[in-house]
């Protein structure tokens, strides 16, 4: 039986420090030995609007955001109005005692916790959130000195003038709550002994770390929600780790720069969201045609057009699988959580080098922005793969030599080797060619790489739960967490999670799904894009779908309700 998960939510306007407050609480929890998992909602605005951060913490790992709220910290009326219904008997509502917030309609048993936030902050608007964090910490039995350490580290470069008022604000909130709500203190953040220190990372950071670990040498990334966090980390560490990050003029340039770097022999990447990927589609096929390694990270958000810039979706799968004219091999992998985003990105660099073709790692907004705690990543087991590559001069070098596995030996400019990386169809040296034998043999050679990849590198998909089950769930990407959380209550149900979209594990999926008694496909899009892929690859048509396309993640209770509706029809 898993330990209970505590859910704290803080809400207010953009500019009130909602996200940073959530991160502070998450860090206190992590340093106190708890696993954490955050979930943020914010509009595409710099100031104003409605922002919330949910911080979950538990002695055990946490798979997904939850709908319940045990403590709501409201810095404005909007937070109360929108989230009051999440509070149940025993939940707490912490708000500014001096503001005339309306709390009517709270469920019976909800504890009202008024704290004079503005007064305790000494009238300093920017300190209100720190007072609230201090008060919450006291209510949860946490340690003020842990928070103080974090505040000192957070503002180290701003000096005492910023550190001291923050420490005072935290202490004021902490003391007030400890004094006035002594009977309500719960031991939720009481330090756990002998817990190893954990990393706190979001998916954008994990992708950046995975890229550095995978041997990244050149990245060109145009800013776009939700992947801008990737370039922030890459830009920060470039000098230290000896790679280059470049902000290009647009996504067309981004992918072409990365392809140019790949041609030079550098391990190269770009990242974008669906709209930027629209612009990258021509460069995507260019990498395929010229057999140039490149890693593309695609962070999905709801579309089309500008869509919902700061919300999440899984609606770009079919686009990524089909973008660009003509046929070329593409390797497409979808990360299921933040740790997976690290390892898949790292692996993507090896796959790109080995198969000399674009590798897309799919993530989404929720993965990009949410923080999770994990044991510190380990890179010592990683073996860098350059694939078939030669620096030796060969006067008869044939860059696109026909190989049975589809993979020709690559070289780079500066070696003396002559070849043309040619966007036109070409012969084995790369000269433009329209000869039937070249056209057919080069096209077939390129596509063979995908078969080689499927046989050599593609693992079987993960089946969780018993092999034979009355009900089989199928999903992908970040839905995995919510599905796994829901399955705690359904040990008989199994779950097929898919990571490899191209090449596709056709045999394994066919075999698993053909024995399934009832299949539910769970996706965050309106057209069941994974089910379309499964039908195309296996001939198996899934008719029962749980689709959500409101920009919000699946919550475990939604999946439980769907399972119950099948197992126990009314």
């Amino acid at each position: 039986m898993s330990a209970p998960i505590y859910s704290l939510k803080i809400g207010g306007q953009a500019g009130q420090g909602i996200k940073s407050s959530g991160q502070l609480i998450a860090k206190v929890a992590s340093r106190s030995g708890y696993h954490i998992h955050t979930y943020t909602e914010f509009p595409s605005l710099i100031r104003g609007g409605h922002n919330i951060t949910q911080v979950l913490f538990s002695p055990d790992e946490i798979a997904a955001p939850l709908r319940q709220t045990d403590l709501l910290i409201a810095l404005n009326q909007d937070t109360i109005t929108r989230h009051l219904a999440e509070l149940v008997s025993g939940s707490g509502l912490l708000f500014d005692a001096d503001k005339k917030f309306r709390t009517a309609g709270a469920a019976p048993g909800v504890r009202l916790l008024p704290v004079p936030l503005a007064k305790l902050s000494g009238g300093q608007e920017l300190l209100i959130n720190t007072v609230a964090v201090g008060a919450a910490l006291a209510l949860l039995g946490g340690r003020l000195d842990t928070l103080n350490d974090l505040l000192r580290a957070e503002f180290a470069d701003k000096g005492d003038a910023v550190i001291r008022p923050n420490l005072e604000a935290a202490a004021a909130g902490f003391d007030f709550a400890a004094r006035n709500f002594a009977a309500q203190v719960e031991p939720r953040l009481t330090p756990l002994p002998d817990r190893p220190r954990q990393m706190i990372v979001n998916g954008a950071e994990a992708v950046a770390l995975g890229a550095i670990a995978g041997g990244l040498q050149f990245a060109a990334i145009y800013p776009m929600s939700p992947i801008s966090g990737i370039l922030r980390v890459l830009a920060q560490y470039q000098a230290e780790y000896g790679y280059i990050y470049k902000q290009p003029e647009d996504e067309i340039s981004a992918v072409n720069m990365a392809v140019g770097a790949g041609f030079a022999g550098a391990r190269a990447m770009t990242a974008t969201s669906g709209g930027g990927f629209c612009l990258m589609t021509e460069g995507y096929g260019l990498a395929g045609m010229t057999e140039t390694p490149v890693v593309i990270v695609e962070g999905m958000r709801p579309g089309p057009a500008t869509g919902l810039p700061t919300w999440s979706a899984q609606s770009d799968l079919q686009f990524i699988l089909h973008a660009h004219q003509g046929d070329f091999p593409r390797i497409v992998l979808a990360a299921s959580d933040i740790r997976d985003a690290f390892y898949l990105t790292r692996q993507a660099f090896n796959l790109a080098a080995k198969y000399q073709t674009p590798v897309v790692v799919i993530i989404d907004k929720d993965l990009c922005d949410d923080d999770h705690s994990y044991p510190v990543f380990d890179n010592s087991d990683f073996k860098l793969d350059r694939g078939k590559f030669t620096s030796d001069f060969n006067p008869g070098f044939a860059r696109y030599y026909i190989e049975s596995d589809g993979i020709s030996t690559r070289s780079a400019p500066g070696t003396g080797n002559f070849f043309i990386a040619n966007s036109d169809e070409h012969n084995q040296q790369g000269f433009s060619s329209e000869d039937i034998s070249d056209v057919v043999s080069q096209q077939a050679k390129r596509l063979r790489k995908l078969d080689t990849c499927a046989q050599t590198d593609m693992p079987a998909p993960q089946l969780i739960g018993p092999p034979d089950a009355p009900l089989t769930l199928v999903s992908w990407g970040s839905n995995r967490g919510a599905v796994l959380h829901a399955l705690r209550d359904f040990p008989d149900v199994n779950y097929l999670h898919l990571t490899w979209m191209s090449p596709f594990p056709t045999t394994a999926v066919t075999s698993q799904l053909s024995r399934a008694r009832h299949i539910i496909d769970i996706e965050s899009n309106a057209t069941a894009q994974l089910a379309q892929l499964i039908a195309a690859q296996t001939g198996i048509t899934i008719t029962d779908h749980l689709l959500k396309f409101d920009g919000r993640p699946f919550f475990p209770d939604e999946i439980s309700a769907k399972i119950n509706s099948v197992l126990h029809p009314a």
């Binding site: 220190r197 954990q198 990393m199 706190i200 990372v201 770390l209 550095i212 670990a213 041997g215 990244l216 040498q217 050149f218 060109a220 470039q238 780790y241 000896g242 790679y243 280059i244 470049k246 290009p248 003029e249 647009d250 067309i252 340039s253 072409n256 720069m257 392809v259 140019g260 770097a261 790949g262 041609f263 030079a264 022999g265 550098a266 190269a268 021509e282 460069g283 260019l286 010229t290 510190v376 990543f377 890179n379 010592s380 990683f382 860098l384 780079a412 400019p413 500066g414 070696t415 003396g416 080797n417 002559f418 070849f419 043309i420 990386a421 040619n422 966007s423 036109d424 000269f431 433009s432």
Partner: protein
């Protein structure tokens, strides 16, 4: 190194008399003179008649997409800045489809050499108006005459921050070859707009037109003043089309701003980073 070292199995397929033949010839003689070969040089081209040059020149190269030669070349240059990187592009490729890349390359000043095969027409698609076609120009896409004013590549380059801006003419092979060498010797972004006739589709900008109306900038013109250069770039008319270096100033190259490649090109750094515990600890 001899001209024959640059020969490939492919023979030029440009129209007889095409300016591309002259540009190709001028470039090859510059290669021989300067020792540019596949150990120290790489070529990048876009799409258009100019791009065929790669098939006829035995130097390692990348033929990219229409309009995208510049970002491709930029990624190559940043990854191995010891290489001479020449970008061959056309007026349609560089100034229409690739206009955004062109202005941003100019403002960054990477050590790239951009040679614009400027024939004021789309040749490969059999004769449509290009961004440098004059107002009123009749073509397949503008049968009643071009309604767009032409773009001025030199003024655009100067305004965007290019540090070497020149105009050459495909009818003067030795002069063009010398200009290409000067462009390469310049440290920073060099743009050479090369006037060339399209003998098949452009009946206005012919060899006769260029021979009668161009003149060479002489020692009385100093190419170090940006305003004067911009003014000189506006000159275009009968008997008044200047050729030569309009603008050339020293400025740090883009590559020189990255300490991580000061000593060693990026591709010579080991990408193997087995111990990242220090980096991971920053997230604890």
């Amino acid at each position: 190194m001899q001209l024959s070292d640059l020969a490939t199995v492919c023979s030029p397929n440009w129209c007889p008399g095409c300016g591309d033949l002259a540009i190709w010839g001028a470039f090859k003689s510059a290669c021989v003179s300067e020792g540019w070969d596949s150990t120290n040089t790489a070529l990048v081209a876009g799409i258009g008649c100019h791009g065929h040059l790669l098939n006829f020149t035995k130097l390692v190269s990348f033929e990219g997409l229409h309009g995208r030669a510049i970002p491709l070349a930029f990624g190559l240059k940043m990854s191995n800045h010891r290489l001479n990187v020449f970008v061959f592009t056309g007026d349609g490729d560089c100034l229409s489809e690739g206009g955004n890349h062109f202005i941003h390359a100019c403002r960054r000043n990477p050590n790239l050499k951009i040679f614009i095969h400027d024939n004021a027409i789309y040749g490969l698609t059999t004769g449509q108006t290009s961004p440098t076609s004059p107002l009123g120009f009749k073509s397949k896409s503008t049968p009643e005459g071009n309604a767009d004013f032409p773009l001025n590549p030199l003024a655009l380059a100067i305004a965007s921050g290019a540090t070497f801006v020149a105009r050459g003419y495909a009818g003067d092979i030795p002069g063009l070859s010398a200009l290409m060498i000067k462009a390469q010797q310049h440290q920073g972004l060099a743009v050479v707009d090369i006037l060339q006739p399209c003998v098949t589709f452009n009946k206005e900008y012919t060899h006769t037109f260029y021979r009668e109306n161009t003149y060479q900038l002489d020692g009385s013109y100093q190419p170090t003043d940006k305003i004067a250069a911009f003014q000189k770039a506006q000159e275009w008319g009968l008997k008044s089309i200047p050729l030569g270096i309009f603008y050339a100033v020293d400025s740090p190259t883009y590559e020189s701003r990255f300490p991580q490649i000061a000593a060693t090109p990026l591709v010579d750094h080991s990408p193997d980073r087995p111990d990242l515990s220090g980096l991971f600890r920053k997230f604890v």
